[in-house]
Symmetry: C2
Subunit: 336 residues, 2 copies
DNA sequence: GCGTTTTCTGAAAGCGCTTACATAGTATAG
DNA sequence: CTATACTATGTAAGCGCTTTCAGAAAACGC
């Protein structure tokens, strides 16, 4: 057995002080004589002492940890968000505990992240049910929602993006600049809030230009390459006529590319394509994808800061909506 | 203040037993009468009781958590690895604590992951220095290395992939099938082990076909799109002649694509390009990228299982090398 | 100088669990 | 029917910290 790690008592003994004093030096919670503090610090260094996180948590009732709940950790969309969360968390001096809800086996622990192991939670759309969210709210546990409005209009802060206006702008671009009239819209997963807003934007754009909404042009892309591809193939098979596709998000746009290419339809000559998010790969597709830039990294970062403020007991704005921005590339027909 | 969460004592009282019995029901560490156990379980359900992780850790000296140390969490390369690690961790019944070493601010905690908050560590190349690795080894703390051999030939288990033979195979494909003679090799980041092995494979392939190694064809791509692009542009500017590029990895291959395209060189007609890893985007590039499939997800999963075995005190193989596989697409000139 | 505040330090009580150890009851063996 | 062995449960001692409380020492005010 290896020599067990030094405890605060070892440090105290070596420095000739009580453990309370060591704790004070460690946390700066009370004035300590300069020389004493120095002795403690050198004892810490000599022993290679690191405080035991669990003991600390138990005694102080703080975990110094923020929990992040999301559907999946891989997936290009979550990369910038994770980067933002990570940066925010480390700036704010917390640790990060990540939990993904997809692909969880049956025997999953009942409540993997919560008051027992984090000080606060970041919750992405669909990764925690309304019941648990309500429970957390009623016990006053700090939560910040990402890309999702609170259920039952609870007063839980939200960070999200301008979905509707972004979608409207890009659809209007297709209409105004490229004279598209029959624009397919691929919805996101069932009940996905981002998708709902984007569809509203899509409809508003049509309306603003006197185009009637055609339900046969709307189908599910599920924000997913393969599903979008299958949907697209089906539409082609069904002989649905269209001159543009607003894919809902960039992942779906890739599926659209694949389906159209296979069917021999040229982008953008035969069909203009637009995405949403501006994920990393968007610019390297051929043709480069016209899309809406979502400040996903900033969402992550802002959410953490908002949560951090909540944890300090400060007041925080209940809703943060970050602006999106049109990114014109080639797939719509510009610079074709 | 919200009503504080129930403790084991509350459960014990409600079930009319001692806290020890509750603990036994919770952990199954000793026989408990069926009926008593049932009473305890319903008390737990009624109170919505969840054991306090920190208290548990403190008392049992186990964290049930595995730590993962890597340079960055975003980046397409790490996605499959994370997926594998995640899956493995949840299969093995552990929690996952992730820590990234890049972009850490100055005031970073001295040792964010270690014996004090995890039972064992998964360490990706370059994310922990030899000194700390040695320290962990000497105190007998379980560690599994990913894509990296242990320093000072310590006996630390490793999970990695067949870099050398994979690289050799793809370079030989360029030589044998496409008759390439002047093949550029873009190295990974300074000191990156994967890169070292790939370079060896590159040299072996040349040698096996009687081609002499030309140092002017080797430059740094850093496994990074932008850096590879810049390097490539410089080579074009310098007038270096070549008929193929083995980009080191897929990210660098994208940079190569961009640089070549801008310079008006066609892929694969003028220059054949090959990558390594077979990241998600490889098949959707135009032309589709010929590369070497690295079983990155499997690496993550296997590493966790290896670590889990170590944690159980079982013996584990000291080195796991997963096979790579040639993936021929269009960028080399096949099915052009 | 003497009371009063301020600064520093230590003793000790938990935080919510796990886990020897002890004990009582119940089988099983001879 | 007594000796032996389980089985089921409780008691209590920590795990390594933080934090309250109190006290000693030093500094201050007048």
């Amino acid at each position: 057995m290896p020599p067990s790690r030094p405890t605060i008592a070892d440090v105290a003994q070596r420095a000739g002080v009580s453990i309370a004093t060591v704790s004070r030096v460690l946390n700066g919670t009370a004035p300590v004589d300069t020389e004493t503090a120095e002795r403690v610090r050198s004892a810490i260094a000599a022993l290679n002492y690191v405080p035991h996180a669990a003991a600390r948590t138990l005694a102080s009732r703080r975990t110094d940890t923020i929990g992040l709940l999301l559907p999946e950790i891989s997936g290009a969309f979550f990369q910038p968000m994770l980067r933002g969360v990570e940066a925010g968390v480390s700036e704010a001096g917390f640790d990060l505990l990540i939990h993904t809800t997809q692909s969880r086996p049956e025997n999953a622990p009942r409540r993997p992240l919560g008051e027992h192991n984090t000080d606060g939670l970041l919750v992405f759309t669909e990764s925690l049910d309304a019941k648990e969210l309500t429970r957390l709210y009623t016990i006053g546990f700090p939560v910040v929602l990402l890309h999702q409005a609170p259920p039952n209009s609870l007063n839980i802060p939200v960070v999200t993006i301008e979905n509707q206006s972004g979608a409207q702008k890009i659809v209007e671009h297709l209409i105004e600049v490229h004279n598209c009239h029959r624009i397919v819209f691929l919805q996101g997963p069932e009940g996905h809030e981002d998708s709902t807003w984007r569809e509203k934007g899509y409809r508003l754009a049509l309306k603003a230009h006197g185009l009637t909404f055609d339900p046969s042009l709307v189908a599910r892309g599920a924000f997913n390459r393969d599903e979008a591809r299958a949907t697209m193939e089906q539409m082609l098979l069904d002989g649905v006529e269209f001159d543009a596709v607003f894919a809902g998000d960039d992942d779906a746009a890739v599926g659209v590319y694949l389906a159209l290419r296979q069917a021999g339809r040229r982008i953008p000559e035969d069909v203009a394509v637009a995405g949403f998010d501006d994920q990393v790969f968007a610019s390297t597709l051929t043709p480069a994808l016209t899309t809406v830039r979502a400040p996903t990294e900033q969402v992550g970062r802002d959410a953490v800061h908002l949560l951090a403020r909540l944890l300090k007991g400060e007041q925080a704005e209940p809703r943060l909506v970050l602006p999106t921005e049109l990114v014109i590339r080639e797939s719509c027909g510009c610079r074709g």
